[in-house]
Amino acid sequence: MCGIAGIVKTNGQSPELELLRSMIAAVAHRGPDASGVHRSGPVGLAHARLSIIDLAGGGQPMSIANDTLWITFNGEIFNYIELRDELIGKGHSFATRSDTEVILHLYQEEGEKCVERLNGQWAFAIWDAAQQKLFLSRDRLGVRPLFYTRTSDGLVFASEIKAIFANAEIPRELDLQALDQIFTFWVTLPPRTAFRNIHQLPPGHSLVFHRGNIRVHRYWSLGCQIEDAPAGEREKQLSEDLLNLLLDATRIRLRSDVPVGAYLSGGLDSTVVTALTHYLVGDRLRTFSVSFEDKEFDESAYQQEASRFLRTQHSDVACSYEDIARIFPDVIWHAEQPILRTAPAPMLLLSKLVRNSGFKVVLTGEGSDEILGGYDIFKEAKIRQFWGRNPASRWRHLLLKRLYPYIESMQRQSPAYLKNFFHVTADDLASPFFSHLPRWTLTAKLKGFLSADVLAETERDSALARLADELPSAFSSWTPFRRAEYLEAAYLLPGYILSSQGDRMAMANAVEGRYPFLDYRVVEFAAKLPSQLKMKVLDQKYLLKQACQGLIPDSILKRFKQPYRAPDGRSFACSSYASDLLSPAQIERDGVFDARSVSALHAKFKSGRATSVKDNMALVGILSTQLLLQQFVHQPRGSSPWSLSTFEKCAVS
């Protein structure tokens, strides 16, 4: 795991060495073990290394074929051993034991299609000197980040946007359409990012930059089985197949020359991953978790129970309201986009605990909810659909109250209000976005806080229309359950779960997350499963639970799903920097939000009167946008706390 950066010039000059060094210094937190820069002709590649595989021989940028193929690579290729053997059989000879060199040889053998053979999580750039071509690629599901921008004289790319901004000539400007999208979907629609003209390579895509032209193409897409044939007698076999696949996905994710630990949240998914890892490595596994001082969010009892059951050596870090407020500026510095929840903050504390415990690699359970029917939004959509078929029913809506037993305010709602909040009118039922209407409609109310100028600007381009334009052509023919799954896996997963809450918070402390549920074989298997095996009536992740009986404590297998949440707006009630950033003078100076509304919202929090979901999302969204402006646009924070001196030993070729 590492940080990468690079420049290709089209004006006949070479990239400046100091600029390349500044770029990689900006992402040094991703790879503090070593660094290197390669510059040759029009190209410059840079690399900050977190040494995990082939500690002695895996330095980068790396080359083969008499220095005609160069790579800078962030990530892991978990099937590199099998690919290496296959390539040796075809006559390739290797100078290292690294997965990095395998990518180069595979590219030499198969060209751009090489990515289709990789099982892993990656963002890399290959410079093909013979063809004078840059080849960028990002993994199928978007585990690893990769950003790029066009300049007047070439292309600049990096693992994080702050490395691109190390180039002072690249404008730093908030993208208002991105804000509109985040204040609807919680994420931007790739390739858009929070900054104007800074693009992300979408998951499952590659990019070729050749003679000044960019070509982006999709090499993989999330599958969907349109027909939902009942599983019948196949259920038992499918359950065994799922377990075997997950076991193999975990096995190859233990390939590492440094110790591997696991996150253990106390929920089903991380407990399953820990159980499979325990099965493979025995009792010596180290596990890590976050506990919350506020019992509303705390799951430590389940974490302890899972740890005892699986005989792991467990550590946890306690998170308070004050902690969230204290580290939130760092969270936004690493996330590089506005966020509407504080949930990434505890993940930053967690990765620090992992790193301070001497670990660089953790296995974790993300992805299961998206591909195996875990999210409440799937269940909610099913109930809403059921109610919508008979809106006059006196009891169908009661299922919605059972869905959110942990939300006190839900329990007193009358049918008239529930029907409105949960969108079950005829028009709603006909919408292709039926599953996500309650979430998106509520979130879009945050736009009411935008200043008049910004609102006018964002209204030119409807976020929903933009999304509708880029959906697969068959989308409207899918069942509502499949559509909901797709929207979560294609957008929220890479744009928020794996980035703001995943890669960015782990790599801030040089910790690599590995995700067995996101092995593409598991994802493709899950895409073909009948929906009723993912959610049987209203039983979420039914097949996974069947597959894992006996492997994990019954209490965790049968517990009510509690979404991972953290305290939101309340954390900032007494924060002085929040008061500064939300003050009318600052809000008016920045111009994005309406000063009067923001002041009223802030006052509501300070007096303890703010309780609603909307208020909480609004405060976190506004504060994170203000922090983003402060740190990236108006008064750039410069490079990360890691200074350029980190790179005194920077290897230059």
Binding site: I407, E408, S409, M410, R412, Q413, S414, A416, Y417, L418, N420, F421, T441, L442, K445, G448, F449, D594, R596, S597, S599, A600, L601, K604, R609, T611, S612, V613, K614
Partner: protein, 97 residues
């Protein structure tokens, strides 16, 4: 009497849900249609009414007919408090409203 409720409730709604932006907001405007109040916001409103006016709002009264606009809330409060005034267990504070 009704105008007092209208004034007070409007002040609460403007401060808590409209966050100061009351231009063009009329006392007959539907909270639901305008998306002013979300699911937790309704409970916030109910708590405020119960605490301020010394009433208890039963679950079956928690519906848009009673609570979906300034005027509807005001009319509901008039009905509710008039019932309370006739109740022997209710103190003078409620009556004085």
């Amino acid at each position: 009497m009704e105008s007092k409720y209208v004034r007070e409730v409007r002040s609460f709604v403007v401060a808590n849900y409209l966050l100061g932006r009351e231009e063009g907001f009329r006392n007959d405007d539907s909270f639901l249609e305008l998306g002013i109040i979300d699911s937790t916001g309704i409970l916030e409103l109910v708590s405020h009414l119960e605490e301020t006016y010394g009433i208890e709002i039963a679950d079956d009264e928690l519906n848009p007919d009673n609570l979906d606009s300034i005027n509807k809330i005001s009319a509901y409060l008039v009905r509710k408090v008039s019932v309370l005034i006739g109740h022997p267990a209710i103190g003078r504070e409620a009556v004085s409203l």
